[in-house]
Symmetry: C2
Subunit: 704 residues, 2 copies
């Protein structure tokens, strides 16, 4: 985001005065709500109703149109029908306002006439230097400054609780619901923004702006899609660089959801797997459910430090629930190392029936002996090996007699182990819960939710946010690659990949049996002979492949046999020649590829061959370009990873070499994004560690 854009958004979100065009006195009308809410919640800037048919609105002096205003007004709220919006805005003078929020619907979401009206509105705004939020949006709130530039009734009941969560939603309905959920869960907001049709300001702009906003610690966003992939990537990077986690809910994870999303937001639909890769790659935490969305936002805003690793200590007063939490920790990818032997011994000496490994069961003794919990926690956490602690107190949280114990416990944790995030699982009354939260302690009723939330955060911070180096700079240089008209054959494709730094054997394309013999003789072992033709996709089906050919007579036979077979079955096919390649065996067959996403550009794919790709769809994606850490991440992410680690008595594969290929492929695909539509290396043979990988066949298709 340019400095100019940033400052115009800052003026928009911090207006000293607000003009409401279409201001109304009728309760509940969208032209009445913002004035009502601004006054109800104590906004102390100027409120200027614009209404040509009234002298005053809600007791405030009204103006007939924007032209009638003398001075500046930072923000214009447009609450007039779509067909009048552009004209109403056109009354403003250049520089008069920083931004306009457009509530009304009937624009691009409503078909052709609306699209034209939206374009006119955008043109007018641009000519006046006014940034647009909406149209077809619920507006925004700046909680600290009590700017309620919105008409959602959700804001009419109570003022939002002020806090560190900046919330951005493309959907107004979701946004209003999220506002109410945040109120119900006691989450504090810095800003609440609904972007609607995104004719100008989009979710990415808001994320980037919130990344620079000092009041915001955590960004929570709901997305249906995006039009400018590069902008979104830069926005997520800005948030990561600012140390502000971004929690995302995006619809369309499944086929059914994607179908529904496409019918809801035709223009924005895209490949969900690519969004998923984007979020992983840029450190955003994707929530699968609304509950997870709020659990993550709650935890990220409440904790004072985020976990630096994935080692969890579980303290429970019930062995059974401790085991249940261990199940959940295992699902969440958290490790449960045992406490130091001395700490174990001390607990067992004190409570012989305790379980001192991890999960640590202090038993019901913790209820009768108030100091036990804190003593055990000090002992266990003392050696510094844990990144987070989860505590289950069963029904004891409902017992007022124990509250001082738990508060001292939370206080102790904060003072002595400030960098170990803690979650207490119990049923506390709300005001007790808030006190613990103010100590930086998470409180959950459901221990499973506590562990899951810690797990997602720990994974994000351990794997992505802190362990990874700065993201690849998006070097926008484009190199042109002259692909043969109609695409290149596999000999050319392998040559191109080799030049891109991807190991691929030099293939000989021969035009005679003599050449074939010479090419085969140059190899160190038996050869593979294959027909090369732009017209033949499935070479084996037409007798175009001979495998394991050794010795001059066999090579001559194979050459002649291939040509005869192909000419017999496909007399029409153009034939480039016959390819002579070394026969390579041993290792695990993988697939690597790249394709162009309409929003995000080149995307690299990795998977194992055979049933893994074809039946299990077990593949991972990253947006190009990327470095080794991302490449290693996408290798480890597939379910078949164990096979690469050396399952079934096989040696482990050369995973570093696979990562090198993926990095090279990502740079190649990105650099040549103007020329190349897709690349598929299949198989990419991953050989045992130290022996590298080799591309055995490849197809490169030009950009359509």
């Amino acid at each position: 985001m340019s400095a100019n854009s940033e400052s115009s958004l800052s003026r928009l979100f911090h207006p000293r005065s607000i003009a409401v065009v279409g201001a109304s006195a009728t309760p509940g009308k969208i032209g009445a709500m913002p004035i009502t809410l601004l006054r109800q919640h104590g906004y102390d800037g100027g409120i200027i109703p614009i209404n040509p048919r009234a002298d005053t609105v809600q007791g405030l002096p009204a103006y007939p149109d924007l032209a009638a205003l003398d001075g500046e007004t930072d923000l214009i709220v447009l609450a007039v029908p779509a067909e009048h919006a552009a004209d109403a805005l056109a009354h403003a003078r250049p520089g008069q306002a920083a931004g306009a929020v457009v509530f009304t619907s009937g624009f691009a979401e409503a078909g052709e006439p609306g699209r034209a009206a939206q374009q006119r509105l955008v043109d007018v705004a641009r000519s006046l230097g006014i940034r647009l939020l909406g149209p077809n949006c619920l507006g925004f709130m700046n909680v600290r400054d009590r700017v309620y530039a919105t008409f959602t009734p959700a804001a009419a009941r109570d003022a939002a609780r002020e806090g560190g969560i900046g919330m951005v939603s493309q959907s107004g309905a979701f946004g209003a619901y999220a506002y109410s959920m945040a109120q119900a869960r006691g989450l504090g907001l810095s800003y609440w923004i609904s972007t609607g049709n995104e004719a100008d300001i989009d979710v990415a702009d808001c994320i980037a702006w919130l990344a620079g906003d000092p009041r915001t610690r955590v960004i929570m966003t709901y997305m249906e899609g995006c039009r400018d992939g590069g902008k979104l990537r830069r926005a997520l990077d800005a948030a990561r660089d600012a140390g502000k986690p971004v929690v995302v809910t995006k619809i369309g994870r499944t086929q059914a959801g994607a179908r529904a999303a496409a019918s809801h937001t035709a223009a924005l639909a895209g490949d969900d797997a690519v969004y998923d890769a984007l979020f992983r790659q840029h450190g955003a935490l994707r929530a699968r459910t609304i509950e997870e969305f709020f659990n993550l936002g709650y935890a990220l805003d409440t904790l004072r430090h985020y976990p630096r690793g994935k080692r969890l200590a579980i303290l429970s007063i019930s062995g059974g629930v401790g085991a249940l939490m261990a199940d959940e920790a295992s699902d969440a990818g958290l490790g449960l190392p045992e406490p130091a032997p001395a700490a174990q011994a001390r607990l067992l000496q004190h409570v012989p029936f305790a379980s001192a490994r991890n999960p640590i069961d202090v038993t019901g003794q913790a209820v009768t002996e108030p100091g036990l919990l804190w003593a055990t926690a000090q002992d266990v956490l003392g050696d510094g090996q844990y990144d987070a602690v989860a505590v289950f107190l069963a029904a004891a949280g409902s017992s007022p007699a124990l509250w001082p114990t738990f508060e001292a416990f939370a206080q102790g944790l904060r003072d002595k182990f400030p960098e170990v995030p803690a979650a207490i699982c119990a049923l506390f009354p709300v005001e007790r819960q808030r006190q613990l939260e103010q100590q930086g302690c998470l409180v959950f009723a459901d221990p499973s939710a506590a562990i899951r939330t810690l797990g997602v955060i720990a994974s994000a911070f351990a794997d992505t946010l802190s362990a990874h180096p700065a993201p690849e700079a998006l070097d926008d240089a484009v190199a042109t690659l002259d692909l043969p008209a109609g695409g290149c054959n596999e000999v050319q494709a392998m040559d191109i990949l080799r030049q891109a730094g991807i190991p691929a054997p030099a293939l000989a394309l021969v035009g005679s049996a003599d050449q074939a013999v010479a090419a085969a003789a140059a190899l160190q072992g038996p050869a593979v002979l294959k027909i090369v033709s732009p017209d033949i996709a499935h070479k084996s089906d037409v007798g175009g492949v001979k495998v394991g050919v050794a010795g001059e007579p066999a090579v001559r036979d194979a050459y002649a046999g291939i040509l005869a077979a192909v000419r017999g079955r496909r007399p029409d096919a153009r034939i480039d020649g016959v390819l002579v390649a070394p026969l390579l065996r041993g290792g695990v067959e993988c697939i690597a590829g790249a394709h162009l996403d309409p929003v995000f550009g080149p995307v690299v794919m990795f998977g194992l061959g055979g049933v893994f790709v074809e039946v299990l769809k077990d593949v991972s994606f990253r947006l190009a370009p990327f470095g080794r850490d991302q490449a290693l991440g996408m290798i480890r992410e597939i379910r078949g990873y164990t096979l690469l680690q050396g399952a079934r008595g096989e040696p482990p594969c050369d995973i570093d070499a696979i990562a090198d290929v993926l990095v090279a492929l990502s740079r190649f695909a990105y650099r040549h994004r103007a020329s190349i539509g897709s690349v598929e290396i299949n198989p990419l043979l991953a050989r045992p560690r130290g022996q590298g990988v080799v591309a055995l066949d490849a197809v490169i298709a030009p950009r359509p």
Copy 2:
């Protein structure tokens, strides 16, 4: 459960008088709490304190011991230390009491002396005809009759809300927490039972008893393990036969959880995959998290009808959240068929920007036009194609003006579509929510949780509870199978399986080259020759296998070659002969097996060969014996199922024939459970549909 056992439990859980041994006047003591609670909550039976050192306890006349009581007392509460418990109980007369609840710990859970004390207690109780609940338990509550035979402080604050949920927990801490969670969520309980050490009455007894209890609609249980697998199976069947869903939380799903569970309850640990199979097979709904546990209990107790299938209608006032719900429906295995064309047309005519497919987006218009939601629901549900409906109202639930609309909506659903379960997703005030629930309507704040819950219930009822015929009778007949000492070779194993009804080619075991030639000539194609020796597990490694042998000279060569190779490399090995088998190719290689579980007896396993079993551990289990529906269920359950359906252009496999093999294997393993330790058929070749399956190799091991 015998009628006698049932009546003794009924008397225990409905006592007309209760003697408290170890009765105390000191607030908070475990001998004081039950008396306090019984009086506080208005129990109207007799309360008889037993305390040799007091004339009265809490104002009630006390007796020195049980012998001093004249009449009967249905229930004895034992709140005395472990070392005195048996002696205290021994004062009772035979027939004086139906049952005793033993609160105190220090029994079997505390090592050897405690184990002996527990055995003495059991012996005394049995000699007096007294059923035991506990020891080391929190007791029980009978909510309607206000029997609070417990010392959990959780019950001290408010009386439990009365309702249809019978709750049984092995863990006291979990039980107490679950009680508080149930209170917090407004769930109504019939009984709350903590079983502790289960010296006599266990979770299975309680499930079976609750299955016959008219006040209980739903059974919620927390388990760590069980000792009597057959009893638990019969109890779950009794609940299913009574139409009462059982929701289960069992710890130990993961390795980490199982390790923790084992250290917590050494005697009860078992293979979690087998429990999982048990729950599927007997129709219990397993909850993965505590939240899911309560969501399921809540929904099952609130709904008046359970879904009969998996077709869901989604009605939303937000297209985006509708898509989010579609994602969740897809994950939950729910289908989203489109409404009838006429219903779609009517909605679109009325609201042109609506989305009339499914999810159905009625748009914010539903807020401004109160009748729209119900009109749309009537239209959509009218053609009878939906099994459930989920409705998202966004923040509108917080708007009092709309409450009459939503109540009319819920009332309309109930009156007109009583058999279509409905979930409304909104943030209502508690009292509004209760009103909707009283109409049989579910209310969730999180639409994801609503859909997930409906999905689990629909799957359970569609797949297991209603669609399936009555479970297999557990015929206890045992047949003896004389396996050769030291196990049988594969020729014998294949003969045994063939007799059990499993297709397996007749293998010839030959002792000479002439016999091999004759055996190969009798086959219709090429042969496989293999060494047969009890000492050689990996035949290929010693040159003991020749594949694709055709014609007399080749057979003679192969025979001689195998013997020479084996004698050269393993001169010590005993040789039973050489096996001549037909070479069969084509189809998908599967694995089927059976093993003996220490708690549940023979368990059958199914999976695909190769990476599916070895790398992905993609296998399913069922307890033997079972019928075709269960067999088909276990085939469909594996992730590689698509391969059996004919992935990659292959024809679909003969799935019916696989099911027949699994059924036959389950009956065989069950019938011969006294003789057989394990069976492994690997590979089991599944051929194209209509061509059956064939066992290509098998190992049968005797019971150790």
